[in-house]
Amino acid sequence: MSEPVESGAAPAPSPVTLGQIFATFLLIGATSFGGGVVAYLRGGLVGKRRWIDDRTFVELLSISQTLPGLNATNMAVLVGDRLRGAPGAIAAICGICLPGALLMYTVGMLYHEHGDRPLVTAMLHGVAAAAVGLILATTVQLGRKSVDGAVDLVFVLLAVIGVNGLHLSVPYVLLGVGALAIFWHRPRGTSDGEGGR
């Protein structure tokens, strides 16, 4: 954990082929119904195939959550890169995106044609309400893991108030509250690398 590694950037040579990477991510992209892609990724990459170990998975996941971009595609890029460099990253992201993209392309066309039928509208109304419940549950579960203490809760509230209450646009809130929160969690107690205190 602490020793500096010189061997550096090049991903470790591995017997995994690009075809296998594409096929694995395609399968995850086609079967991960109902959100929660992360759980499917863990099952597919750490569990069944042992392509990466659990510690690496958690580390890559925390990078994915910090960066802009969806967790699923960020994970695909990071894992693909670890396995086979840039071509691996491309194979992985194409695989995980393809099934959902084809499905939503078709669904979009169908909805465009039949979306105004009362039965469809009633059904989608129910779907939307359930989706809000799903999104809220996912956010709460994520928050339980990553929100630590009362001050973090204040940052959560500031972001919510900024977007929903003050109607500030998301980038301002992200940069403003983000900078504040990063500064709050700034490195402390080390002698070097810090200006005044």
């Binding site: 602490s2 500096p4 086609a30 109902g34 959100g35 925390s62 994915s64 910090t66 802009p68 971009g69 969806l70 595609t73 960020n74 890029v77 992201i93 995980i96 995106c97 099934p99 959902g100 993209a101 499905l103 939503m104 979009g108 465009h112 039965l119 509208t121 009633a122 059904m123 989608l124 129910g126 779907v127 939307a128 309400a129 359930a130 989706a131 809000v132 419940g133 799903l134 999104i135 809220l136 549950a137 996912t138 956010t139 994520l142 940052f155 959560v156 509230l157 972001a159 919510v160 977007v163 646009s169 998301v170 980038p171 983000g178 929160a181 990063i182 500064f183 969690h185 080390t190 810090e194």
Partner: protein
């Protein structure tokens, strides 16, 4: 052509806001696609977004539907590339740099600082969609029941969303 340019600009911009998850970009998604460009109505956006939550894979694939509505297959492809390429390149570069920054003290500050902010942005997105999706006692009950079940069990969420569709079919006509 004009529309494809607009699609690319909008979705490349939106992709950079998805810190923590796609939901974080929802308030801006609503403003840009509904109010600014009039590509679809707010109820249509909510319907597509909710159906997209059930689809497998990355949970923002409903953007493909918007691209298709606006400019056909070309629009769908433009949206896909605009939305996923910038963040993919960013993730690729960061993934390589990140490992070298293991001893950089600000690395964990950034992670710990952005975590609560991204939760806040996800909640803000959730509220924005709830405003349109929760219209009465039935929809609020569906939402509460689904959320409560998911927090207590490991059932596949897609089944609950389908359940929501059935309740809607019976009670929301």
């Amino acid at each position: 052509m004009n529309q494809i340019g607009a699609l690319i600009r909008v979705f490349a911009y939106l992709s950079l806001l998805t810190v923590g998850g796609g939901m974080a970009a929802f308030p801006e998604l609503e403003i840009l696609t509904v109010n600014v460009h009039h590509w679809l109505t707010f109820p249509q956006l909510i319907h597509l977004y909710s159906v997209g939550q059930m689809a497998p894979g990355p949970n923002m694939m409903m953007i493909v539907s918007i691209g298709e509505w606006v400019a056909g297959l070309g629009g769908a492809l433009a949206v896909l590339i605009a939305f996923f390429l910038p963040t993919a390149l960013f993730a690729f570069a960061s993934g390589r740099v990140w490992r070298r920054l293991e001893k950089w003290p600000w690395r964990s500050s950034i992670q710990r600082g952005l975590a609560p902010v991204s939760i806040g942005l996800l909640l803000a997105g959730c509220l924005a969609i709830a405003k349109g999706a929760l219209t009465g006692a039935v929809t609020v009950s569906i939402m509460v029941v689904v959320c409560a079940i998911l927090l207590r069990s490991r059932i596949n969420p897609a089944l609950l969303v389908l359940g929501g569709a059935l309740v809607g079919l019976v009670a929301l006509r």
